[in-house]
């Protein structure tokens, strides 16, 4: 039974089924209360968690999003059930922290991770095209480094507690949320105040975590594998996610094509492109998109856990220091284009520079 399931999930139909599930429920979670075109967004939801824990003071984005713990715990359940949970660490963890930090800076410049870029496009937000183009450019640069010998080195097997750090952290977050721990911060307006019912979000996320652990669903890997070896396996899952989310949005009347008046988005094209280029490069150098890093951390990969902590730290810094993009706004009937502050621009450029330094210097010939 386990072998049959493992085989199915490794097939193209397995990854397509996973992509469809994520797309359908990514769109539905928005309809059920999550912010528009943000049914699932790993970067945004980690940013909300950072806010809820008081790591930043942006009052409109503070909430313990249950989807993030659900992803990690769903992945852990799958890994334990199929005997794949393995505590491991030691592959340049500090570099991974910095990559996570700047991946978040890039994603928040765009206002979303690759998952949200797909969901934004599925809702008609054409700014996502710039983001996806930037993401592809960043991944292509990362592939160039991979081909030139870039590596963060080997991880090693470790004791069980090392692999449990992220699942336990996520379980604690869930307990704080469900018991209504009074010190948690919660937005009273803005995206952080909008949420689907906890039980629905958590259930969907656990299933996503389970499926994604089995199928190795990865939005960055999808593009990377096409560029690196013309392998369309993962990209068929991401395509299924896009199509299914679009169809659900269409059925619910939630598609509005255009660049302007898009929810939680800005139309500053160059920073949509460069923000996601930074995120794509950082994800490639770290070996997985933000979702994949969560799923890996659920199966015992403490290096991925470090990347996730880097993202959460980056989210805190992004909002404390004004690095995050600001959405377009209506001012006296006219659209005021949002985008990045001078500090945000500096942070994205610094992130690109740091990633390039890693790409050019972290090299090793492995035999």
């Amino acid at each position: 039974m386990k072998q049959t399931l493992t085989h199915f999930f490794s097939t193209r139909w397995g990854i397509i089924l996973t992509g469809c599930f994520i797309g359908v429920f990514g769109a539905l979670l928005s309809a059920w209360g999550n912010p528009a075109n943000m049914g699932i967004c790993v970067a945004c939801f980690e940013r909300d968690i950072a806010g809820a824990l008081g790591l930043h003071r942006a009052a409109v984005v503070q909430y313990i999003r249950p989807e993030i713990p659900g992803f990690v715990l769903g992945s852990m359940i799958a890994a334990l059930f199929f005997g794949e949970f393995k505590a491991r660490s030691g592959s340049a963890p500090a570099v991974r922290f910095v990559l996570g930090f700047f991946a978040m800076i890039g994603a928040l410049a765009f206002l979303g991770c690759p998952w949200r870029a797909v969901l934004r496009l599925a809702g008609g937000d054409l700014n996502a095209l710039l983001g996806i183009a930037g993401l592809t450019a960043g991944i292509a640069a990362g592939v160039g480094f991979l081909k030139s010998g870039y590596t963060l080195g080997r991880a090693q097997g470790n004791r069980i507690p090392s692999g449990l750090i992220m699942p336990v952290f996520m379980a604690v977050l869930l307990v704080l949320l469900i018991t209504g721990f009074p010190k948690l911060l919660r937005s009273e307006s803005g995206p952080g105040s909008m949420s689907a019912p906890v039980i629905i979000s958590l259930t969907v996320a656990v299933v996503v975590g389970f499926l994604a652990q089995r199928t190795r669903f990865c939005t960055m890997g999808a593009v990377r594998d096409v560029i690196l070896m013309r392998d369309t396996h993962l990209v068929s899952g991401v395509s299924a996610m896009l199509v299914s989310a679009f169809l659900v949005n269409l059925a619910l009347g939630r598609v509005a094509f255009g660049f302007l008046h898009q929810p939680v988005a800005h139309s500053s094209h160059i920073w949509n492109f460069l923000g996601m280029a930074l995120a794509g490069l950082a994800f490639t150098l770290a070996g997985g998109c933000p979702g994949r890093q969560l799923f890996l951390s659920g199966e015992g990969d403490a290096d991925s856990a470090v990347f996730v902590f880097g993202m959460i730290a980056g989210a805190g810094m992004a909002h404390n220091f004004g690095f995050a993009g600001s959405p377009d706004r209506l001012v006296e009937g006219a659209v005021k284009t949002g985008g990045l502050s001078p500090f945000g621009i500096a942070a994205v450029i610094a992130g690109l520079a740091v990633c390039l330094v890693f790409g050019f210097t972290m090299r090793e010939k492995i035999r």
């Binding site: 493992t6 490794s10 199929f82 794949e84 393995k86 491991r88 030691g90 592959s91 991979l146 081909k147 590596t151 963060l152 080195g153 080997r154 991880a155 090693q156 097997g157 190795r216 890997g221 990377r224 594998d225 690196l228 070896m229 013309r230 392998d231 396996h233 070996g287 997985g288 290096d303 492995i366 035999r367």
Partner: protein
């Protein structure tokens, strides 16, 4: 027989190592990986290159033997 140790390496490095070895053309050769993910990715990459692959458990991981069809 050439043996490549890809244990501890995260994706896509095992795949890069195997495709490089296939290009070099020294068949058969073995590749050792330590996760099911790496095993699956390598098998898919090898099949795309029209080579054959068989695997067996080895310690905590797997030994894959790659050959021409």
């Amino acid at each position: 027989m050439k043996e490549i140790d890809a244990r501890g390496l995260s994706c896509p490095h095992p795949v890069i190592l195997v495709t490089t070895a296939i290009k070099e053309g020294e068949f058969p050769f073995t590749l050792i990986v330590d996760t099911v993910t790496a095993r699956e990715n390598v098998i898919r990459a090898v099949k795309m290159k029209h080579c054959s692959v068989e695997y067996s458990p080895e310690g905590d991981g797997f030994r894959l033997e790659i050959n021409t069809v």
